[in-house]
Symmetry: D3
Subunit: 69 residues, 6 copies
């Protein structure tokens, strides 16, 4: 499957915090800590657990930029 999403970040799951509706999935991307908030349903469907290899997808229009100043 090819996706239009421009940002594809390989990462590994290092922790999952599940609520009733939302799961915050903590990731290690080459030493950088990331967090993805997805539905609990999706986390279960993808079989995510500590150690799972994933690709974090982010639409270009959802990425903001900051500079010192």
């Amino acid at each position: 499957m090819l996706v239009s999403t421009r940002n594809k970040i390989p990462a590994r799951v290092v922790g999952i915090t599940k609520g009733d509706a939302t799961a915050n999935v903590e990731l290690d991307a080459a030493g950088l800590r990331l967090v993805a908030a997805i539905t609990v349903e999706a986390a279960d469907e993808l079989g995510l657990r500590e150690g799972s290899e994933v690709v974090a997808l982010v639409k270009a229009s959802d990425m903001m930029l900051a500079v010192d100043g």
Copy 2:
């Protein structure tokens, strides 16, 4: 300034494609290619050009996950 955004990815600008309203800013994040779509106004205000050091900010709820399968 502390932001609630969970994902903060240090990167360097390697290219900028400007339309009338939107600018696609191509980034190199430790060898990983990223693209941020921001307003042209913002790109100008932040003084972005090739070589600019930035931090890409992504809200946890804007990050999706994919696995092989």
Copy 3:
């Protein structure tokens, strides 16, 4: 590839309006008109043209609900 995105809508491309940075892709999803705004780069990479079969992906947290009232 399995994605965490909950909403997967099969559709066919019926028109593409390209700017310098953004492409608005008009879709027909079983008679329902949809529009996806993606980067021009992505539209080209996916080889999108009129008649292309696609799946529109929408994160659950990006879907709002409205009711009469």
Copy 4:
């Protein structure tokens, strides 16, 4: 009310999973399963329950596209 949101998908509520902050609302849109993650407050304010007729709203910039490949 006219909204700038390009994607308006008529649907019916078929299930609601409520956490403390977020409610995942499962929808049937002409046989297609959709899920909207909204605040519990919003779900209550809109009086959503199984059978409620709704319109799912999605901004064009929040719709990604995938193709086989």
Copy 5:
């Protein structure tokens, strides 16, 4: 129409920058400057021009918070 979107900000259009695909609509909300990036199609359909009274809608999950620090 009742919407699940939690943030409804009354504002007045003070400028519009149109590209081929995207329109950046500059707003005055009780003295606060806001910018909404919508499709050109939507801006035309809503008949937006300088002086138009609008309500800016923002999903709770699209609002980030920053504090000094």
Copy 6:
């Protein structure tokens, strides 16, 4: 820090509803009620409590517009 986010709304925290993963932060912005859904982790890291002064950040592409009609 300069951010590309176009919308910066000064506000004060007036309430926080915490789930396991997500916190809905209720704000007063010059008399206007706003709600931001952020991760519980972020709410704790920013030390948010009733009375906290914050800036609500919203990307231009996450702002929709509505008009009477």
